[in-house]
């Protein structure tokens, strides 16, 4: 984690109200892993006192750049859209813990809902560099919100679902999962909480539904792995990237917690944003 001055190189409105910005930040590009995020300071627009967290959407080691992808939802994100190439912003990062891919996993299933694309996008790059196969399931409200194919690596199999049926599967992206969960060795998701909760239910019942016999070592139940440790997460079928309103983003303020099955609230900024799906208490009413 360090504070860096990042220069904006390019900004594009890739979808209505959604922006993709490229920043020159070599230490973040080389020092971060898929799933981590940056906490970026806004200009002081009459009293915005908090930074804004953004997933590292992509990181390019060759050019020392990272991209962030966001939707304008308020004055803070609005401020970022007024930046011009050459402007500098103050970034704190890389923050949080990354996705943990098992070295034996050949087939990765990525599932993104809306802006959740930003959470899993760089894992696609990392996986392809490592010679893995990637299928990306993407859900959006309608065709106008679908992430452009041109911004994805050619190697990714890209499957789209829209709520109104204007493109791809007519329905929720979670309905596509059963077709791919047999193929996938591991799954990684980011998106609205109901989507993650539905995926978590699917993951919990996956082995039973698929009629897989429990032979040999079981994933996710390894002895000696502390819950939440990289080793334990690596064995989980589904990892989710969570979102929560954030204060400090380094674990000091305890503002961004989610309830865990252990009964102790976990910090999205520190223990997360990536969690094994069975670490999260999805059924509880706490904080919902």
């Amino acid at each position: 984690m360090r504070l860096v001055g990042a220069e904006l190189l390019e900004a594009r409105e890739i979808l209505p109200g959604q922006w993709l910005q490229t920043y020159h930040a070599p230490t973040l590009a080389t020092g971060s892993r898929a799933g981590q995020f940056v906490h970026v300071r806004t200009g002081d627009l009459s009293g915005l006192v908090l930074r804004r967290p953004f997933s590292i959407n992509t990181a390019d080691l060759a050019t020392g750049t990272i991209t962030i992808h966001f939707r304008t939802v308020g004055r803070g994100t609005e401020w970022f859209t007024h930046l011009r190439p050459g402007d500098f912003v103050d970034m704190l990062g890389p923050l949080g813990r990354p996705f943990e891919v098992d070295s034996r996993s050949r087939h990765l299933l990525l599932i993104a809902g809306g802006l959740g694309m930003a959470g899993v996008r760089s894992l696609a790059d990392e996986a392809i560099r490592a010679g893995r196969q990637v299928t990306l399931l993407f859900g959006a409200a309608s065709a106008r919100d679908v992430y452009p194919t041109s911004l994805l690596p050619d190697e990714v199999e890209y499957v789209v679902a829209t709520d109104d049926g204007s493109l791809g599967h007519h329905g929720f992206v979670t309905e596509l999962v059963p077709q791919y969960e047999g193929w996938a060795d591991q799954a990684f998701a980011c998106g609205p909480e109901p989507m993650l909760q539905a995926l978590s239910r699917l993951a919990a019942t996956r082995r039973a539904r698929m009629g897989v016999a429990n032979l040999g070592r079981r994933r996710g139940g390894g002895k000696g792995d502390v819950v939440g440790s990289p080793a334990a997460r690596r064995k989980a079928f589904l990892q989710v990237s969570m979102e929560q309103g954030m204060g400090c983003a380094v674990g000091a303020c305890l503002g961004c917690v989610v309830m865990a099955t252990s009964g102790v609230p976990q910090r999205v900024c520190r223990e997360g944003p990536v969690f094994a799906s069975d670490e999260i208490d999805w059924e509880g009413t706490w904080g919902r």
């Binding site: 984690m1 360090r2 504070l3 300071r41 009459s46 009293g47 915005l48 006192v49 908090l50 930074r51 803070g76 103050d90 704190l92 929560q244 309103g245 954030m246 204060g247 400090c248 983003a249 380094v250 674990g251 000091a252 303020c253 305890l254 503002g255 961004c256 917690v257 989610v258 009964g263 102790v264 609230p265 520190r270 706490w286 904080g287 919902r288």
Partner: protein, 380 residues
Amino acid sequence: MKARRHVVTGTAASGSTRREPTARKPRSASASVSMRPSGTPSRPAPAGPVNGAAAGLDASAPVDLSVDLGRGLVLPNPILVASGTFGYGVEYGDVVEVDRLGGICCKGTTLRARIGNPTPRVTETPGGMLNSIGLQNPGVDAVIAKYAATWEGWRVPVIVNVAGESVGDYVEVVRRLDGIPGIAGIELNISCPNVGRGGLQFAIDADAAAGVTAAVRRATDLPLLVKLSPNVADIRPIARAIEEAGADALSAVNTLSGIAVAGSRSKPLLGNIYGGLSGPAIKPVALRIVYEVSQVVGIPVIAIGGITDIDDVLDFLAVGAVAVQVGTAIFADPTLPVRLVTELEAACRSRGHASHRPLVGTALPKRASAPSSRGVEYRP
């Protein structure tokens, strides 16, 4: 010993039981010169703008920023970080040089572990933020086990912020902290509901505030700060009661109570409904309270409330604070507190002061108002 609780002014040897308001002291050349390390020759002023011909401090002259809070707690400088905004001091890692801070007030600590309030817990508001963390913490024993050894290795004093639901809770937490190396002092968060008395906050009642302060005072010889709540009609009788109960210093203020509404307009936004407002939005309120409190107590007042730059620090010193805590601004700029130390040093130097003490209390009424015996009148 009341006399030991004075802010040491370097040359002061007053036997009075009240802090000498610095503003009323003539700034004599001899007083400033006497602050120099002996043997340092009075060099001609360099080219830079140097005020205060009497002092003639050059750019390399040492500025004494230390603050003596009594009972052996001497802060290296008056810039602290506020409880809840800096975790246990370790979270920011290499980004912040903690040893350059004047002090660290750690996250609120209770007797038993607490899971805190449901989410959402934080939201940004105009010029500030609301938080309702609900004192999530692993409990005093876990805090000691996990952090005390680290703190012991630091030069910066770590003041443990203590919260509780009953006087017994507070006393027990403080007992366990007493004598642990690495713990420099206690800051009591008394803005907690007193379960034994129908959930009334300790901080809004002079008797309850004094009661918990006195009980903790009996339990420890550690330096004791008590953090005042701004959510009261008149802070002065409460501040005086806490002083008389044996507090070594006051910190003012805690957050202002507030709420936000969810985007759907169907419910309040925060999981706990109520949150505490902090940030620049509360600075005028904090200034007013420090102004009021510093005139009626003799113990040091540490100001908290919306500090984002050196001018804010100087404002709080002017209304009588001897030190300040930076809180919410850390989230936007973690390096701010350390930078403020440097900037305060420069501010003293440019005014020809060998310490920041001449800056304390300059905006207070020139004639000491007699401490109110009733403290009931409220001037908005």
